[in-house]
Structures are given as structure tokens and as C-alpha cells.
Amino acid sequence: MSFSFTLKRKLCFTGMSYRRKGLASLPITIFFIALVAVAFVSIDALTSAQTGLFSKQVSVENTLTARQQELSGLSASSAGNGLLQVTQNSGVTTNIVYAIAQTNNGQAFSEPVNYAVTSGQTQSINLTSLVQQMFNGNIPSGLTSITLVTSRGIYITSQVQMMQIPHQVTVQQQQQVQQASCPNGGNLQGSNCVTTYQATWHPGYYSCPAGWYLVGSNCIQVHPEPMCPNGGTLQGSTCVSSSPASYSNGYYSCPSGWIRGGTYCYQQRTTWYYVPGHYTTQTVWVPGYTATYQQCFPGYWTTSWTWVPGHWQTYQYRFWGFVFTYKVWVPGYWASILTWVPGYCNTYRYYVPGYYTTRTVWVPGYWTSQTQTYRTAATWHPGYIFCPRGSTLIGSNCKTYSPPNWFCPGGTVIGSSCIIPATWHPGYYSCPNGGTLQGSTCVITYQATYYTVEEMVPVSQTVYNTELQPVSSWLIGG
């Protein structure tokens, strides 16, 4: 009570105390500073990242938003061979943290796993390996589904079926085995025995045809068979070849710049000359035209008789300052009247026809040309018979004389001898005892002798491994 009284009292008198004493406002100032401090601390407590109410609501909202985002982008598919492909496409990373395996007898088993599916990527999960990991290498019978649980509480349930996959394995098995031996010291190769020995070497040598002499690696024949080239005939020790002579026909020719026409040569020449200035008479046409002609008649005076009807004529005369008027009857009469007839002009149009007339004009000097054709007889060149160089014209044939060639096919003629390379017979190996030659070795193959022993031999067997195959039935939710 005393506190509230004191506070009320101080509050009531604060304004007055402030005016009177500066120290009197101190309690109120301290109170407001403390109040502001309390407000700050309270706001900080409400919005604290660890314990603040608002921050917790924001965290929950973020968690729910991320969960909804993960659920919307999650999909699963089967890739065969027991692989389950999980895909996330909504911008968050899906962490699979638990796996639950259920059997058809109502049992279920769960185990923590760790698979991360980043956004935009696909994670392949081997369900067979996963279940074997959960059940110590075994796959329980009657397994019906596998559920994967993400860190945001979303499940992917895949129905699975168990498949027996055959595999070929090799095991050791005791069997009676036929073993081969080579009694004559041969080497066992497969089911045969092989004996080898050195082949006999036969060295190579040169040989020449009959009638030729072997000199080194060449064959030489002295005075071999003569032969004439180009179909010539041997006459004594000379080859004579004959061929028809060539005949050249006669022809006309013209000098350079002339053009032949038949037996004549033609040439066109152009001559320039100067025509001096001169007068010349030319016939010109004067065109017709339309002309006008005016004829005028002058005016003149003429008399004519006119009847003047009777009428009263008024007369006046003065007398002493008085004016007297009287009328006199004038009877009708014929009167001669002088009348002016005015002149006039008439204009006539007429056509003057055109006509030719001659006149003398001056033509200035100018250069002009004149082309003339000249003709002369063409030159005749008569035909003749000729032979190629080195042959002689005899009658109408050309004959060529040459020494004979020695017949030396594939060889070289030196003087009157023909030299050809001798034939080389290379050396070779042979197997005198019926072996088969392989390189420089003879090989004899014969059937091995067999006997029976018991030993362990590898045998291929088929075993069946149990694998899980996800069926096309997915359930994703949370």
C-alpha cells in the first residue's frame, strides 16, 4: 500500500516536480527504461530459434512444406532384375531411412537403411540385396511387399514376387577319367602322341636349258638362232623388210593472205581516197502551202428617191419683240436623198501545191573507201611417191636392210652370245621316315594309349537363386 501510494503520489506530482526540480523525473525514466528492456527480452524469448513459439511454428511449417514437396515429386518404377528405381523431381533430396518387409503370414520386419535420392536423379535399389541384408542373406518365403520410409515420413510400398533365377555354377566332382599315355616317348597333345625329329636338308642349285652353258648364276649360248624384226626376211646375213611406198596427192596452194576458190586465189583490197569540196546540183521538193488573198471595195455616195408625205410645217417670225407662230401645210412630194454606201473587204484562201526544183549546193571534201576483189591463179603442186627415212624406194616398195637380231628371249645379247639368268632350285627339307614336315622339323603323330583313373573334375551345374522382382504396383503416400 505504501508503495502504490508513493508511486501514485510521485506520478501525480511528476509534472510539477519536473518544473520545479530536475531530479524528480528520475523514477519515471528508470521505469520506462526497464519496461523497454522487458519488452525486448520478451520478444527475444518468443522469437528465439531454439525455444521461441514463432520460430517453432515456422520450423513446423517448413517441415510440412518440404514433406509436401517431396511427396509431389516422388515416383517409382521397376527396372527389371529386382531393381526398384526411385526418382525425385521436386527440388528436394529424399532420404530413405527405413525399409519394412512384410510376408503373407502377417509378419513384418524393419531395418534402418540409407539411400539418398537427390533432385532430378534416380536411385536404383536392389530389393534382393536389401532383403538379404535384412534377413542375414536369406529371403523369407511368402514375402509380399517392401515399404521404404523417407525421413519426412513418406512411404513407398512395392509389391514383390519371388522368382527363381537359374545360374550356372561349376563344382568339383569325382569321376572316372580316361588318361592317355605315349609309350614310345612321344609328347601327349590332346588324345594323340607327337614325336619330332630334325628334317633332312637338300641345298639349292642353278640349272640351264639343254645347249646352254652355266657360268656362275647365268646361262650362255653362243651364236643363237638369228631372227629378223618387223617381219623381215633373212637374205644371207642381212634382214630385208619391204613395205609399200607412200604416195602424196597433188594440190593447189595460194600465197599468204589469199583465199583459194577452185583453181584461183582471191583477195579483197580496200582503197581510201579524198574527194575535194565541190558544188553539185540537187533536186529538192518545195512543199505546198495554204495562202490568203484579201479584196476590198471602197464606200460611195448614191441617190435615191423617197416619198415625203404631206405635213404641217411650223414657222416663226419676230416683230417688235413678239414671236409669232404659224403652220403651213406642205403637200407630199418625191425627194432625192443622198445615201453613203460603206466599203467592204473579202478574204479568199487558196492552196499553193508543192513542186520539185533544182538548186546548187556546196559539198565539203571528205575521205571515202572502195573495196575491190583481185583474182590470180592458184599454184599447183603435183603428187609424188616417197619412203620413210632409212629405207630405199625400189619400184613402188620401200625396202629396209638391217643386220639380224639374235633370238634371246628374256636375256641379254653380248656380241653374238645370249646370256640369260640360270634357273634357281631352292633347297628344301624332307622327312625320310614318313613324318610331316613342319618348318625344319618332322612330326609323327600317333594315337595315345588310354587307361582309367579316378579324380576330381569340374562339373557345370544349374542352381536356382531366389530374387525379388517388383511388380508394377506402387503405393506412395504419407
Binding site: 526497464a34 514433406r67 515420413g153
Partner: protein, 157 residues
């Protein structure tokens, strides 16, 4: 007279400071730790509401075997969720509601009995009812230690 007024102003200022700090201390104690009181206070309700907001749990799998339903519950929230006590679970089918006779909560991997599902943890909850529908869908409602309800829809058969 002047001397007495000066002393009373200083004393009043100190008293105001003490009162302000005291009020703040009481508020902070209520908010952060709560007061040790047997009865449910307003601050306790605020704390429970705050905790309930952070409790998030999903049903990821379940099995029905006879009269027993086994639920696989995953805590993806920010708070541990305590179900034992109160061990309250109900099966709601249409207008019928029945409470679970048997309530067994265990770790899904080790099968050890637990009372609280920690965050990021998978738990196995076995519930036994007198009558479980053999067809159609029904609901399982679970109430945790702070009174928050978790309702899950299940399909029979």
C-alpha cells in the same frame, strides 16, 4: 522538508526497478521452464500447444492379423511423441468406436518396448480390439501424452 523529498524519490525509483525486473523474471520462468504446479496452468497449455505443433507422425505401413492391428509409425516432426502413457487408441468405424484392449509400443528394428517415439524414429504399435471390420475403411485415433490426436485411415481386407 527538502531532505525528506529527495530520499523518497530515490526510494521510489529503486522500487520501480525492482518491480519491473521481478515481473520479467516471473514471465521468463513461466515461459521457459514452467512453474512447478500440479494443476494445468495457462502457461502449461501454451507449452503443450507449442509442443503439439511440432509433433508430426505418419503411418507408413500396417498389418491386420486377427484382432490385432500392427501400425508402423514414423516421427518426422520436431518433438518426441510419447504414447505410453496414456496408452489411448480408438478404432472408429462409422458410428462405432472402441478402445484398444492391448497397447504395445516398441522400436520397429529392435522390438524393444518404448514409451516415446523419438524424432526420425520408426516405431511399431500393436493394438488389439474386440472387433475389427473385415471390409471397408476405418480410422485409428491415437492420443499422446499432451492430448494431441493422431488419426489414420486404414482399409480392411
Amino acid at each position: 522538508m527538502k531532505k525528506k523529498r529527495a530520499v523518497s524519490e530515490v526510494v521510489a525509483a529503486l522500487l520501480l526497478l525492482v518491480v519491473t525486473v521481478g515481473v520479467f523474471g516471473i514471465f521468463y520462468a513461466y515461459y521457459v521452464n514452467g512453474l512447478s504446479s500440479s494443476s494445468t496452468s495457462v502457461s502449461q497449455e501454451i507449452q503443450n500447444s507449442n509442443k503439439a505443433t511440432g509433433e508430426l507422425m505418419s503411418l507408413v505401413s500396417y498389418q491386420v492379423q486377427g484382432n490385432t492391428i500392427t501400425l508402423y509409425l514414423y516421427n518426422y516432426g520436431l518433438q518426441p511423441i510419447t504414447l505410453n502413457p496414456p496408452q489411448k487408441a480408438f478404432l472408429i468405424s462409422g458410428s462405432q468406436q472402441q478402445q484398444a484392449n492391448d497397447f504395445g509400443l516398441s522400436d520397429a528394428t529392435s522390438n524393444k518396448p518404448i514409451n516415446t517415439i523419438q524424432t526420425q524414429e520408426l516405431a511399431q504399435l500393436s493394438l488389439t480390439f474386440n472387433n475389427i471390420p473385415s471390409s471397408g475403411s476405418f480410422y485409428i485415433e491415437i492420443i499422446d501424452s499432451i492430448g494431441k490426436n493422431f488419426e489414420f485411415q486404414l482399409s480392411a481386407g
